[in-house]
Symmetry: C2
Subunit: 379 residues, 2 copies
Amino acid sequence: MRETVYVLGGGQTRFGELWEKSLSDVIQEAVDAAITSTGVMPTDIDCIVIGNMVGGETAGQAHLGTFASGLLPHHPPALRVEAACASGGLAVHTACALLESNRAETVLVVGAEKLTDVAGDIVTSALMHAADNEKDAPSGLTFPSIFALTATAYMHRYNLTRDDLSLVSAASHRAATQNPYAQFRKEIPAASISKSPLIADPLRLLDCSPISDGAAALILSTKKESGVRIAATQLASESLSLVDRPSLTSFGSTKTAFLKAMKEAGWKQNEIDCIELHDCFSIASLINLEDMGFAEEGQAIRLFKDQDTESQGSLPVNPSGGLKACGHPIGATGVKQILDCYKQLTNQAPNQVKNARHALAHNLGGVGATCTVHLLETV
Amino acid sequence: MRETVYVLGGGQTRFGELWEKSLSDVIQEAVDAAITSTGVMPTDIDCIVIGNMVGGETAGQAHLGTFASGLLPHHPPALRVEAACASGGLAVHTACALLESNRAETVLVVGAEKLTDVAGDIVTSALMHAADNEKDAPSGLTFPSIFALTATAYMHRYNLTRDDLSLVSAASHRAATQNPYAQFRKEIPAASISKSPLIADPLRLLDCSPISDGAAALILSTKKESGVRIAATQLASESLSLVDRPSLTSFGSTKTAFLKAMKEAGWKQNEIDCIELHDCFSIASLINLEDMGFAEEGQAIRLFKDQDTESQGSLPVNPSGGLKACGHPIGATGVKQILDCYKQLTNQAPNQVKNARHALAHNLGGVGATCTVHLLETV
């Protein structure tokens, strides 16, 4: 990186069905939490980047950069970025570029989404705008059904069983019992996941991350130092539509972003101590781990069977509870993942990984059409 | 600027009611035009930034960065940015930061919007998401009525007459007769503007920029050189809601962005040879020129009366025809303004300003809640 970007800390709202809060409420709460927890003077913030996907459709509010700017007394310049479910990771990536360009020295990064104030069909339709509206949407696909296609292809190709797949969500729910910000804090055994209501065959209710409200905020700086820095930030794209992909069981954007990030940081694969992974649907976790080379194709389920992915295992995955159990307020997710990595590296995580010095945050947009990978390390 | 950012050129669609074209069509057309006119190899583009406001609401398509990435054979990383009607200027600003950070060497910047495929009430409602949904929208305000409030305050405070105000739109329409990409290429005398249908008193139909479709694209580079460089790029915010403003007849975001840009470029005010100005409503032109110090408060109309703003006058304003006559496809406008400045500086403009060496592009979001100012100069 052209400048050393330090993570000064951050804060978040609880993720969940926050009926009593508006989009502006959750943004304000996360911003206040980030400022309070870092002790940064609001007037030291010289830029704001906010990640949000469907504020227009679900809250009647676009132009969220300037909305967030109005929460600070000096109205710093501000912008909104969007790359579907990777909007949060994209916000951090964009903030890093602004810091590296020397256009800002201290940036407030916010991710926020409010989904529960409109009917389910409106949310489903708005989220489908993340896919290709000319190639994917006319066939009647929704996101659960798109990921069901990938799950079907994967299970067929690699002989993955329904009961195996349930181990993924079970692990996320187990981890989230310790996370006070998680939407679901209840352990759910794999057998119950296999028996939960069918959503889009083979995916069942408990394979799917929920509809959530929430916000998270981080403060990044090149001016003030801290014990954690961003070692790499990478953004990559893949064909928007499944129709144009060479494979249904691999996302090229993850492969590209991960390889470039590892090169940027100069890390070896075995140095990674914990991963916040984009488990929007259980099947995505397996694909993502394979795309990043943590398992051979078709073999990632073994990491869950062997409990390597537990917080005290050899490759802790989603010690926060991931999207499945923490909730998935679209634009907030990528920011919250990096906040969770920061907590691991500063020994403040509720489900702490021992001696964590290198953390990875992996955020997907659409059906893996966009990916951001961030690597964080202790200084 | 940390790096010298050259404008290699660009291209655009015609702006207008493009019933036969989709959002993806106009993006593709502008991208193809930019690549053809600059001769840049598509694979030399290492990042794409796209400005768009209401793709979700009007075209069922978010995630436009990755959509645009799919138009190039190598799928470069890509992002969408949004700041209401300043989304295009914001896209150029973000591209500059990516270039200055050394994360990219050649960036394709796109601005695009497709508004005519949905009913007028849906467009009006979606555009209103640029204002404050909690403070402004509940009173029933729309954008024409918000700017009508500013016009009323301005006319009262400075004794501006209805017939005076009509000179602003008349100048834009006169200029656009020469622009093949303009939505309206017909001269309209001031007297007809004063008599056009009332929209929101005192604003009449011909005070208002139209609902338009279109796209524009630019290629910026630190690696390849050209005869035009970006001397300054600034982004500024002001309270999102009118309720929180100290004045209805001045936009703080313009003042901040302009002063910072002039400082960044090291220019003197009298060196500016031509201006592409955000004339979303006629009254905005007067306010914008005063906010940038080209006239005393309440006096900007004199520049139009004296024909200083004509292409061969002392301060050419909107020689392209501006938003009023070129059309205003929201996200496309800010990119198209900078393309028009580039054309002036390379002697390719249809309504050419003589010996233009310094050009200014001013792009507003909301009721002046966001402003970008770009200064371009010949090398």
